[in-house]
């Protein structure tokens, strides 16, 4: 399906063949990486989001409805309603008729402009009982679902470049986000500890095995822990920890022998460790299942029961309920058969015993294989299920209410009531995505910051956001473990791309080839397990399970079978997977420490494709690559033919993966497709990252997202509240494969500046840059800044509307000169501070009451002027004026202003190696140094930037770029790139010899002449092109000063911040300096006179504040004096007074009479 919209990608594929002819020989060792573009062609960069959402629409949604299929009434037992199907249609406008098959013309861009939600109707088919007949209805809308862009229901799906252009959509834009109320929202990938898996932990000497069970109905955590050598089961539902033997007995394993075998097998060490547990139970004299249930039942927390029902407790019943459906819920109990669950708990005990015996067997919580990534689809399914249940409850309550009435005039038609509630689901989904706070009452889940506004600062920043993973747990934990780089994230998560500071290491990014799995059905896998000769675990005894050489087979953490030939089982299972009999995302691996074969089919595992190696030879051969080049094979064919397969973290760590074909050895199982794919999309922009100090790459990852450049092909028609665009962006001279793959060269953010690394003028210290004025004149670093102003014509409480009154237009007024006849400012007009945007008026009376209006008064509404105006100190040009109407039918006037800015002193620039700097000087071209050829640098960079930063990659970029300029070709600086010629040690040698050919020094150094004196600069200067990014931090947006200005209402101190024209604070430390120096009068001036000086009357008698020369307390004016104090102090006194704290001021003569003598 994806294939035919790949004109762009096809063109992109070409340079990957090193400009080779089709007939040229293919070298598998070098060209195998061609699989990568093929992978991205099929999967796309952010495919995980779209896959997850598609899975939600196709499968999850239907399962949710199936689980909540029937609604019955408590009042009338005969009434029922059943959902037979649910579908999500394609996006429509709210007011459009639902056409199940026809299309709507709504586009995502329209939603962005009109502040609408890009959503599609959710329709259900129902069957219900009306009176005595059963009615079937189809296509009933129960709400609207926000639709992820480029998902299966999106209008953009399968469109080619020109069709997308017609829809004002960018073909490079990856999709994967939602548009809610006009805002682009991304649901970030959430990282969590895996569900339904036993994790053995050990802290503060307590060793415990825990499992978070999660099913659609319930989420709970169960612990098996060891306290004073005794083992207990801990769960929220239990008032106290229950001894393990009692739990197992309650589950029907009454024989101590059996318990011991299930828990410890035949192993004497474990048996000895466990024995003490039996003693404990003996004391309590619990032998039978009944006794055990009684014991547990008395310790189950009381659940709230509906009022009016029987309040007595049946302990046994409660214990059975708790054990079967609350403790370890994900292991189902069918027909009172507790055995699978007992085996599960026994297995947990075994793990605890093993961990005590050998502390190495404690699990690592930070291991990526123990984590699961939650994507948009899963988040939405949680939300939808909650909303759907609430919807059904509301519906039921309404139906009950009607049915309660004794004499109804007409038959109850459930359909009428069903339609009424559709708003709940719609607004619930909207609100969650718009605010980012997920609250699911069933799971007591209250999470904020799930969704974020998609950053459109540059193309990479948007892309970076879509691959971002945020860690849900342990944000406050002071330990470094979760933040550290994990060896197991190799190839899955980018090692460079993480923010600095607070979030460091907790926010991660996906690597280039990572895929996140969706849920696969367990049943076919289970069948295959038994086909492969494994024995059912419920038929085996503990001794059989744990005997030497026996391996337990787990599916998603639950033991289901045993085998004596794990290796054979493994290869057999893999064969089935490579044949396509099982989904390619099912993983299988052996854990020899646990003597277990784990099979995982669950969702949220990270995985990546690798080439299969068999008999020491790569399965991908020349022939395959050739047919891929000819377009006869795509990545899916590689998968289905068993040439390439996906490995998740656990399976990856059970494999022997060769980095290059030459490294293949006898035991090698897989071959890496391309080493640079361990980096993510953002880190992939860096040329020669493997030559840089690692933190520099991390810094660049943060800065690449702030670079000004092109945003998308639709940037001209967008109306973002803030948009930065570069006037002449250039594609980098030194690019990487990743740059081509993510199409950064189509939407670049930066320019190739010719840089001289030398000291010049002293205005370049501390990383400052010297810019060539002529270069700036010619457009270097020039950018446009678009700002949006909204003028909503809102509806007041009394129903009156704001208006644009064009009738006020008076062209003789200077203020109205820039307005058009419609009362709005004209496009293309230059605006300065104070210029009016629109002749807006608001009604004088907005109070809801109409009673106040005197009888006979005219019904015309009185208006007052509320003209919005341009606020910024620096002028701008009106770029666009748009009138939009949102879904709630409110007219919104959007005015886009544009500024074109050239670089100025203090603007921030950065290369791609974490080397940022501000402009320190803009020098005349005549003053700049130049080479014999007259070539003059655009930027002079201080060489002190290099020694401590060790950004060798930047130097290599310069040399590569210089040779590229000379040969007229773009050069590659891909990470871990190997030279094509095996005789050459590094790629740089090639660039050096190329430079020599063109009469330059091989190290990129040039002889420069000083522009001021004309003398030769005594040393050679490293000169050449480096790609520079202009960052969004510009002086114009930051510079601020004030003499006098607004003050805050409460404290009467100057306001804070540039936006409020605030004062510049003399802070605590500055104050300390002045105190230390003894500049008392300066302090007095700064802290009081220039801030919140206030004069008030103080009564010297009582020390309280009086008023206009009168003391209310003393009821006299005798002792009242004028006093100057900070208003904040006066406020404090009064606030204390309001809390019944008396603050009295003691007044002393400033120049006491005694001393005057």
């Amino acid at each position: 399906m994806v294939r035919h919209r790949d004109e762009a990608i096809d063109a992109m594929l070409e340079p990957f063949y090193y400009q080779k002819h089709i007939t040229e020989k293919i070298d598998t060792a070098r060209d195998k990486w061609n699989l990568l573009p093929a992978f991205l062609k099929v999967k796309g960069l952010i495919k995980q989001h779209i896959d997850s959402f598609n899975y939600f629409l196709e499968t999850d949604l239907k399962q949710i409805v199936k689980a909540n299929q029937k609604v019955c009434s408590d009042v009338d037992q005969k009434f029922w309603l059943e959902y037979t199907d649910i579908r999500v249609l394609r996006p429509t406008r709210v007011d459009e008729e639902i056409q199940p098959h026809g299309g709507s013309t709504v586009t995502p861009h329209e939603c962005r402009l009109r502040d609408m939600t890009y959503a599609a109707p959710i329709v259900v088919d129902i069957k219900y009982r009306r009176g005595s007949t059963i009615v079937k209805r189809k296509d009933i809308q129960i709400g609207r679902m926000p639709i992820m862009l480029r998902s299966r229901n999106c209008h953009l799906k399968g469109k080619n470049e020109s069709e997308l252009a017609c829809m004002n959509e960018c073909s490079v834009d990856p999709g994967g986000y939602f548009i809610v109320r006009g805002q682009e929202k991304v649901i970030l990938v959430q990282e969590q500890l895996s569900k339904n898996r036993v994790i053995v932990e050990s802290f503060k000497g307590v060793t415990q095995a825990s499992v978070t069970s999660s099913t659609h109905e319930r989420k709970s955590k169960t612990y098996v822990l060891i306290k004073k050598d005794r083992i207990f089961v801990k769960h929220n539902i239990l008032v106290e920890d229950v001894p393990i033997v009692i739990v197992l007995k309650a589950m029907g394993i009454q024989s101590d022998q059996e318990i011991l075998q299930l828990v410890a097998g035949a192993d004497k060490v474990y048996q000895d460790q466990f024995l003490i547990n039996f003693e404990e139970v003996m004391k309590d004299d619990i032998q039978t299942q009944q006794q055990a249930l009684e014991y547990i039942g008395s310790r189950v927390k009381i659940m709230r029961r509906p009022v009016g029902q029987y309040h007595g407790r049946n302990y046994q019943q409660e214990a059975i309920e708790a054990l079967s459906s609350i403790i370890i819920t994900h292991v189902p109990v069918q027909g009172m058969n507790f055995r699978p669950k007992a085996i599960y708990i026994a297995y947990m005990v075994k793990r605890v015993l093993m961990a005590i015996d050998d502390p190495k067997l404690v699990d690592d919580r930070d291991y990526v294989g123990n984590k699961r990534l939650e994507l948009a689809g899963q988040m939405l399914s949680l939300l939808f299920e909650d909303l759907f249940k609430k919807f059904n409850n509301d519906f039921k309550a309404r139906v009950d209410k009607v049915l309660k009435k004794a004499n109804r005039t007409n038959e109850l038609d459930a359909y009428e009531h069903l339609k009424l509630h559709s708003n709940h689901i719609t607004s619930g989904m909207d609100r969650a995505i718009a605010t980012g706070s997920w609250s699911v009452k069933r799971f007591k889940m209250e999470r904020a910051g799930i969704s974020h506004v998609l950053s459109r600062l540059s193309y990479v920043s948007a892309l970076g956001m879509l691959t971002r993973i945020s860690s849900q747990f342990e944000k406050t934990r002071k330990v470094s473990g979760p933040r550290a780089l994990q060896p197991s994230q190799f190839g899955m998560l980018c090692p460079s791309d993480t923010p600095e500071g607070e979030q460091c290491g907790l926010v991660k990014n996906l690597a280039l080839m990572t895929h996140i799995t969706t849920d696969d059905d367990e049943d076919p896998v289970r069948k295959i397990v038994f086909i492969l000769g494994a024995e059912d675990i419920s038929c085996s005894t503990g001794v059989e399970m744990y005997r030497d050489g026996a391996y337990i087979i787990f599916i998603n953490g639950t033991p289901i079978a045993t085998t004596m030939q794990p290796k054979r089982f493994l290869t057999g299972f893999r064969k089935f997977r490579r044949m396509g009999r099982i989904s390619e995302f099912v993983s299988v691996y052996i854990n020899h420490h646990q003597a277990a074969v784990h099979i995982a089919t669950d969702e949220g595992r990270v995985c990546r494709p690798l080439i299969i190696v068999e008999k020491c030879r790569s399965r991908v051969t020349q022939r395959h690559l050739e047919s891929m080049r000819k377009g006869m094979m795509d990545f899916d064919d590689f998968l289905s033919r068993g040439l390439v397969e996906y490995l998740d973290v656990n399976e990856e760590n059970d494999s022997n993966i060769a980095l290059y074909e030459t490294n293949i050895q006898a035991h090698t199982t897989h071959l890496e497709i391309e080493p640079f794919t361990i980096l993510g999309a953002v880190a992939g922009l860096i040329p020669f990252p493997h030559h840089n100090q690692s933190p520099r790459n991390t810094y660049q990852c943060a800065m690449g997202k702030q670079a000004i450049g092109a945003i998308g092909y639709n940037q001209q028609v967008r109306m973002d509240s803030l948009l930065y665009l570069m006037v002449y962006p250039q594609k980098p001279l030194v690019k990487t494969r990743t740059i081509e793959l993510i199409q950064y060269d189509k939407l670049p953010a930066g320019q190739n500046a010719s840089v001289a690394v030398m000291s010049y003028s002293g205005y370049d210290i501390e990383d400052a840059l010297v810019l060539n004025k002529a270069s700036c004149d010619r457009g270097f670093g020039r950018c446009q800044v678009f700002k949006k102003t909204n003028i909503p014509l809102s509806r007041n409480i009394n129903g009156s509307l704001d208006i644009i009154n064009a009738g006020l237009l008076d062209l003789t007024k200077e203020q109205h000169k820039k307005l058009d006849w419609d009362g709005l400012i004209m496009k293309g007009e230059k605006v300065t501070k104070g210029d009016i945007y629109a002749l807006k008026q608001t009604p004088l009376n907005t109070t809801p009451s109409t009673l106040l209006r005197p009888e006979g008064a005219s019904r015309t509404i009185q208006y007052k002027n509320a003209h919005p105006s341009y606020k910024l100190p620096v002028g701008a040009v009106i770029d666009q004026v748009a009138l939009t109407s949102s879904e709630s039918d409110i007219t919104n006037i959007k005015i886009l202003t544009r500024q074109t800015r050239r670089p100025e002193l203090g603007d921030k620039f950065s290369s791609r190696h974490g080397q940022k700097g501000v402009v320190g000087l803009i020098a005349e071209q005549a003053d700049m140094p130049f080479s014999q050829n007259g070539v003059c640098p655009d930027i002079i960079m201080n060489p002190h930037g290099f020694p401590s930063r060790m950004t060798v990659g930047k130097m290599l970029e310069l040399i590569a770029g210089k040779s590229g300029v000379m040969t007229g070709a773009l050069q590659y600086g891909t990470a871990f790139l190997k030279p094509r010629d095996p005789g050459v040690q590094s790629v740089v040698e090639g660039y050096g010899s190329e430079l020599i050919k063109h009469g330059f020094h091989y190290e990129g150094k040039d002889m420069l002449t000083c522009g001021i004196t004309g003398e030769v600069i005594p040393s050679y200067v490293f000169t050449g092109p480096i790609y520079y990014q202009k960052l969004k931090h510009m002086v114009q947006d930051k510079m601020h000063a004030r003499a006098t200005g607004p003050i805050a209402l409460l404290t009467r101190q100057p306001t804070e911040g540039r936006a409020r024209d605030g004062g510049l604070r003399l802070g605590e430390m500055e104050r300390d300096c002045l105190i230390a120096y003894g500049a008392s009068q300066l302090l007095r001036e700064r802290l009081m006179l220039s801030s919140d000086q206030h004069t008030c009357d103080v009564c010297a008698e009582c020390g309280l504040i009086g008023y206009s020369g009168w003391c209310q307390v003393c009821e006299s004016s005798a002792g009242v004096r004028k006093m100057v104090l900070p208003y904040a102090a006066k406020l404090l006194i009064q606030e204390l007074g309001s809390m019944n704290v008396r603050t009295s001021l003691k007044l002393v003569e400033e120049f006491p009479a005694s001393k005057m003598e």
């Binding site: 002529a774 004149d777 010619r778 050829n933 007259g934 002449t1009 522009g1011 030769v1016 050679y1020």
Partner: protein, 332 residues
């Protein structure tokens, strides 16, 4: 052009033109001080006046590019500025805004009506009018197709209609008035003066390619003894213009500008002349618009039409005229 070899050992400044065409002139400047040679380079780059579009009156712009974007592009289009002296600086002109004496009007009027393909708007599409001299203010077109520079692309229905006013100016104000592209400048290519510390990794000879000019001078091996007192006096200059002015003419104009600047200094410093132009009411004026006796080439001998002896005599002339008055020329 044929020049005799002036390398006869005398100390007169001389210029040896090695190669010349209308875009490029390559010459050796000899027997001048480094400071003078560099001053000439600087002046040629930043103070030789040319024409460039400075004002854009936009009547209609429905293209995808914003107004100031196009205006910036228009400004950078090189215009022919051969007879630039026939155009006045706008600020020196009598007119209020601009007139044909101080400006050239280039108008652009394009509308795309083609359904299938976009219209490309080139610099050849300018209508040039209102000018003092026909050779001034034409867009420079050098590509074989004769299209000039691409200004913008228009889609069906889009229109650009604007009046561009080109004015005279110098590159100090904005690089669009820069007459030159790259100005190559080199002396002592073999580092006989040791101005450069010749850094090398293993072998300087292998690592540092010898420049073309280096072949004309003795190598370090050939140099007998290092001369501590030696000063640079052969300058290999390669001057390339963007096409607005012929390369040799550009250099000559540079000499004129420099002369005028120096003359201004002299007049400001000499007491009797200073009276004519009191410092108190000194007002900024355009370079070259000397006003006094130091107008264009009056007291400096004839015009500067040749590279040869004529130019030299003007240097000599200065020396005699102002000898002793200022330090200028004293250490010459």
């Amino acid at each position: 052009m044929d020049y005799m070899d002036m390398d006869t050992g005398d100390n007169e400044p001389a210029i040896n033109v090695r190669d010349s065409n209308d875009l490029n002139v390559n010459f050796i400047l000899r027997n001048v001080d480094l400071s003078l040679a560099n001053s000439l380079r600087r002046v040629v780059q930043s103070e030789v006046p040319t024409m460039a579009i400075d004002l854009v009156e936009i009547e209609s712009n429905t293209s995808v590019l914003p107004d100031e974007f196009i205006a910036h592009r228009l400004g950078l289009i090189p215009l022919t500025s051969g007879n630039i002296e026939k155009v006045q600086y706008s600020r020196d002109c009598d007119c209020d805004d601009y007139c044909e004496k101080c400006s050239v009007t280039l108008s652009l009027d394009a509308r795309c009506t083609d359904e299938r393909s976009n219209m490309h708007l080139y610099s050849r599409d300018f209508m040039v009018s209102n000018r003092a001299d026909l050779s001034v203010g034409n867009p420079v077109i050098r590509d074989p197709q004769g299209k000039g520079i691409l200004i913008a692309k228009l889609r069906k229905g889009q229109e650009i209609k604007m009046k561009c006013i080109a004015k005279k100016g110098i590159a100090k104000e904005h690089a669009k008035w820069m007459p030159t592209a790259a100005v190559g400048f080199e002396y002592d290519p073999n580092n006989l003066l040791r101005h450069l510390d010749l850094w090398y990794e293993e072998n300087a000879k292998e690592e540092w390619p010898v420049s073309e000019n280096g072949k004309l001078e003795p190598t370090q091996e050939e140099q007998e003894v290092f001369d501590f007192d030696a000063t640079p006096n052969r300058f290999y200059v390669n001057l390339e213009t963007v096409g607005g002015v012929e390369a040799d003419r550009c250099f000559q104009q540079g000499i004129t500008v420099l002369q005028n600047k120096l003359a201004d200094i002299i007049s400001a410093l000499s007491p009797e002349l200073a009276n004519n132009n009191p410092v108190d009411d000194y007002q900024p004026r355009s370079p070259g618009a000397g006003g006094d006796d130091y107008g264009n080439g009056t007291s400096y001998g004839g015009g500067f039409s040749t590279h040869g002896p004529g130019a030299q005599s003007s240097y000599g002339g200065q020396r005699t005229e102002y000898a002793g008055m200022t330090s200028y020329g004293g250490n010459y």
